[in-house]
């Protein structure tokens, strides 16, 4: 890794660490391991145009990979069940404090043949019939589950800071 890359990774690390701590998440305290993952996310950002999960095979098509842009849709369920995300970038308080050990965990993302890629049209109409008397649609952040009732999703999730395209129509 060149010096410029080192600086880019360090800057990314500092920025992300502060941001996730503020939101109640923890990065893996093994700084070398964590920085290697962040470097890989930057590699993927350069390679695909989005920061795909370093431990998953990205397709190169953003719409197909919305679920695995870091932080992925599987982070929170995995933190809940296994105390870490699939890559080991995010860990629970128990792992951070040393009460539990970090291990590799099973893949939660569905197999390629079982994945559902939702088109925008479907997202638009989803659930419209069920609760049609709401004054506004409700949008859900796929990463952290934040819900908001407004015409469209916010540019940036106010909780976990992911971008608009990670939201889906919830109600």
């Amino acid at each position: 890794m060149s010096q410029a890359d080192d600086a880019r990774v360090d800057e990314f690390y500092e920025r992300l660490k502060e941001q996730v701590e503020e939101a109640g998440y923890h990065l893996n305290s093994d700084v070398e391991f964590t920085k290697a993952l962040l470097e890989s996310i930057l590699v993927n950002e350069d390679r695909y145009g989005y920061g795909a999960c370093p431990c998953r095979l990205a397709s190169g098509i953003k719409e197909e990979d919305l679920d695995i842009i870091c932080p992925c849709y599987y982070r929170d369920p995995d933190l809940e069940e296994y105390d870490a995300c699939y890559c080991g970038l995010y860990v629970s308080g128990d792992i951070l404090s040393g009460k539990k050990q970090l291990t590799a965990i099973p893949e939660r993302r569905p197999a390629p043949d079982e994945r559902i890629v939702r088109s925008e049209d479907e997202t638009e109409t989803l659930g419209l019939e069920s609760i049609s008397n709401l004054p506004l649609p409700v949008w859900r952040c796929g990463v952290c589950g934040y819900l908001c009732a407004r015409e469209g999703p916010p540019e940036i999730c106010p909780i976990c800071k992911v971008s608009k395209e990670r939201f889906e129509r919830f109600i």
């Binding site: 431990c55 890559c87 993302r109």
Partner: protein, 92 residues
């Protein structure tokens, strides 16, 4: 097929399908090196075009979920993920 080869003790044909960006894949490769076994590995994320599709189909045969690392041993056993104990047991 652009497999990388690592010399070591012959325990039959061992192939590691991995991603160049994945830390668990890296740990798996380092473990195989530590165990000093002869093996081949390939970084699927670095492949393109037909080569990529072919290898993806091959990995799916061993591991339909197409997750990494996928380690295929000589006897056809497949170890998915960085399962240190499982790998040590199978290869020592």
């Amino acid at each position: 097929m652009p497999m990388e080869h690592v010399d070591g003790e012959d325990k039959g044909k061992i192939v590691l399908f991995a991603l160049s960006t994945c830390q668990w894949c890296r740990k798996t490769r380092l473990l195989l090196e530590e165990l000093k076994v002869d093996f081949n590995y390939i970084y699927v994320d670095l492949l393109e075009g037909e080569e990529r599709s072919e290898i993806i189909e091959e990995v799916k045969k061993y591991n339909p979920q197409l997750s990494f690392p996928t380690l295929v041993l000589d006897d056809g056993d497949v170890i998915v993920g960085f399962n240190e104990e499982g790998i040590r047991e199978a290869l020592t």
